[in-house]
Symmetry: C2
Subunit: 139 residues, 2 copies
DNA sequence: TCTTGAACCTATAGTCGCTATAGCAACTAC
DNA sequence: GTAGTTGCTATAGCGACTATAGGTTCAAGA
């Protein structure tokens, strides 16, 4: 019926100390305890933690997850807010991808200018890191 | 000739407390001081900090930058090591991009399933976050 | 030369999202 | 019963900074 923190950890992929950390931060409820003071969780806790885990996997900041959790406890509210949060995060992720792609291009340029056979003193990799003017694009 | 920590900050784009932090961590040398105990930097310091800044912009972990700095102080060594570090980071960045693109696809799917007009209780965004089985791909 | 205000100094604590450690207690399987 | 795994709390540490407090020094204008 109910299960231990280790079971919850295995079933969600969230590490045990992280679960306790989430509890301390108020992201999940304090569960009931056994007579010996050990935590015992229910299916509801499992669902909530899965929700949190999934949001983290998606790269949502904790704050966004908190907002979504708050929303989901008001089932009559319109879902436009939830949509807004997801859309914002989509925009964030696209920005990050674009940024990384610029860096990729530059690192590629840097590595291609180096044969690996000459001495450090003439190494374009090091020169490229030391001198922004050698960059093709801004970053 | 030499310049203050504020000047160095403006010329490199590295914030003042961050410069002091780098000094404490041994990434840059302790500069000379005025009689009044204020730091005064030279062109050499500027170059080194620019190098560090550029590496950070490229997403290099501090450890990789330390290695590159060590390398550049041994000008007779072959540059294969520098090349290796840059190549490793290129690989890291490509992995991160691929990961983010998977997340982008899923967030897109999630937002598109939501019209914003219905109630939270029926919101696909929240359902999608709560249930991994609704995902198309693994992550 | 004096004054004012910006820039500088040190030291410490806080950020985020965990993760690790120490030193115990309880549960489970044999 | 006992051994071994799992659990408990509390605290410290991680990376890479950032913020704050409370004081000192510098540079430019009057």
């Amino acid at each position: 019926m109910d299960f231990s923190i280790g079971d919850l950890s295995r079933r969600t992929g969230v590490k045990v100390p992280t679960i306790r950390y989430y509890e301390k931060e108020g992201l999940i409820e304090e569960p009931i305890r056994t007579e010996g003071n050990q935590r015992r969780y229910t299916e509801r806790d499992l669902e909530r933690l899965t929700f949190i885990r999934h949001g983290r996997d998606l790269g949502l900041p904790m704050m966004a997850i908190r907002e979504l959790l708050d929303l989901s406890s008001h089932p009559d509210a319109p879902c436009a807010d939830a949509d807004r949060i997801a859309s914002e995060q989509l925009q964030n992720i696209r920005t990050r991808i674009a940024q990384l792609q610029r860096l990729e291009a530059e690192l590629l340029r840097i590595t291609q200018s180096c044969t690996g056979t000459h001495a450090i003193a003439d190494c374009n990799v090091l020169k490229a890191f030391g001198d922004h003017r050698l960059c093709k694009g801004e970053h």
